[in-house]
């Protein structure tokens, strides 16, 4: 079978799947699946026979995991969804991240209130991971406007990086048994202490296999003008680590804003990284003129990519999981907006084109070539 580019689009009203042949000229759209129910996380699992997973976050009837074994032509609920133990006292409020684990059918799932679950069987059964879910800090984390969410799971062998809003970055070096808050250099603007041990509002973390010690982080920026206790905190929004996440430094210089949600690394170049700077007040691009910004030297300098995007009067937000990049030789970026447009940025973001312009508000976009 010829390679297909598969897009999963998690929206306020269900999950859509779009696919195209490798030139990516015409994407066919299917869905919504789980109609009417918000989807915050999707996963195209390419281990073995490809499967697609989507969280279906039903505000009435609770959380479900949907699974497709026919590349998004149909979805069924898995036999169970993550759930806290009965005596825990917490109740699942949302499912924010789905990632493949080490075993062929292992899945990891980050939820709200911030906790981690694992499935050994492709989502049919789930167990809470106590090392982080019952961490001594867990009951001290507090929700931001989006809820207390564990939105990022980055696995690298026995290292596991978690992003929690608002909890910060947590690192495990024993495969997820134990976790340590690892936020040296990660600023917080919403507390008197600009550099607390934990409690930062991390928005997204990304890495590349070719630069094993390096991580990029989009943190909650927008605090350069703060004049209260602790003083201004310029540049805390876009960060880089070169020691496996033990310490972080700003790479925000040159960006029009250090606030934003997604951060994405080029599939073939660990030095090339993309962000979508937003004005902190409106959560829209500066000047209402959308643009993706790219660095080709690991955050040392940035340039603006906006060819084909609206030039004015655009107030959408690109949420933390709403941008991804495919693995093809000349990769394309995919960006979903809160106003329901799905954009493709061909040639690594050089040329933008709207694939679908009237979807429901988009929470999540993932891409895979299968």
């Amino acid at each position: 079978m010829a390679d297909r580019v598969i897009l999963t689009i998690g929206t306020k009203k269900g999950v859509f799947v779009a696919d195209a042949a490798k030139p990516r000229r015409n994407f066919a759209l299917r869905g919504p699946f789980g109609p009417g129910v918000p989807v915050y996380s999707t996963l195209v699992d390419t281990r073995g026979t490809p499967r697609i997973y989507a969280s279906s976050c039903n505000p009435f009837f609770g959380m479900k995991i949907l699974r497709s074994t026919d590349m998004g032509k149909s979805f069924k609920e898995t036999k169970s969804a993550p759930a806290f133990p009965k005596d825990d006292g917490r109740a699942l409020a949302n499912i924010w991240s789905l990632e493949p684990g080490a075993g062929k059918k292992d899945l990891w799932c980050g939820v709200e209130p911030a906790s981690l679950f694992r499935s050994p069987d492709g989502g049919d059964s789930w167990e809470m991971v106590p090392g982080i879910s019952n961490h001594e800090h867990a009951r001290k984390w507090s929700p931001g406007n989006g809820g207390l969410c564990m939105h990022t799971i980055v696995r690298d062998g026995n290292r596991v990086h978690l992003g929690i809003s608002t909890g910060g970055h947590y690192l495990s070096e024993d495969g997820g048994e134990t976790f340590t808050a690892s936020n040296k250099g990660v600023g917080a603007g919403f507390a008197p202490d600009p550099y607390p041990e934990f409690g930062q509002c991390v928005h997204k973390i990304a890495r590349h296999d070719d630069a094993p010690g390096r991580l990029y982080m989009q943190n909650h920026g927008g605090w350069a003008e703060w004049t209260g206790p602790g003083g201004p905190r310029p540049g805390i929004g876009v960060l880089r680590s070169d020691d496996y996440g033990r310490s972080w430094r700003s790479i925000a210089e040159g960006l029009p804003s250090d606030f934003g949600f997604p951060i994405v690394v080029h599939p073939h170049d660990a030095d090339t990284v993309y962000v979508v700077p937003l004005e902190p007040q409106t959560r829209s691009c500066p000047g209402a003129a959308p643009a993706v910004w790219r660095s080709e030297n690991g955050g040392g300098a940035w340039n603006r990519l906006a060819r084909g995007l609206p030039k004015k009067e655009s107030y959408f937000t690109v949420l933390r999981d709403a941008m991804d990049i495919d693995q093809l030789k000349a990769p394309a970026l995919y960006m979903g907006t809160t106003t329901g447009q799905l954009w493709i940025g061909r040639e690594g973001g050089e040329k933008w084109e709207c694939l679908f312009d009237s979807l429901p508000p988009i929470n999540n976009v993932k891409v895979a070539v299968v």
Partner: protein
């Protein structure tokens, strides 16, 4: 117990279940034992009725009665309905 359409797939398509219970709480406990997949849709892990669901005894919301401790008598109709929602 009368069930709305979205919940019927979790109890083999039934639109009604017959339950013998002295209170709403006891009816939900019966549901947990006999229809666990359905129960998960009605109550969260802590045992609370999900926030955006309403439970009625006949025409009255249990919120206006004694909550889930509302007493039941033979022939009462328990209805689970989702609250209204926006766009």
């Amino acid at each position: 117990m009368h069930l709305p359409g979205p919940l019927r797939p979790y109890c083999a398509g039934a639109s009604e279940l017959s339950i013998s219970a002295p209170t709403v709480r006891a009816a939900l406990e019966d549901l947990e034992r006999t229809q666990p997949a359905l129960y998960c849709n009605v109550c969260d892990e802590t045992g609370k009725v999900r926030r955006h669901l309403n439970v009625f005894v006949n025409a009255d919301n249990v919120r206006d009665l004694e909550g889930i401790d509302t007493m039941l008598k033979p022939g009462d109709v328990l209805t689970v309905l989702p609250a209204v929602s926006g766009g």
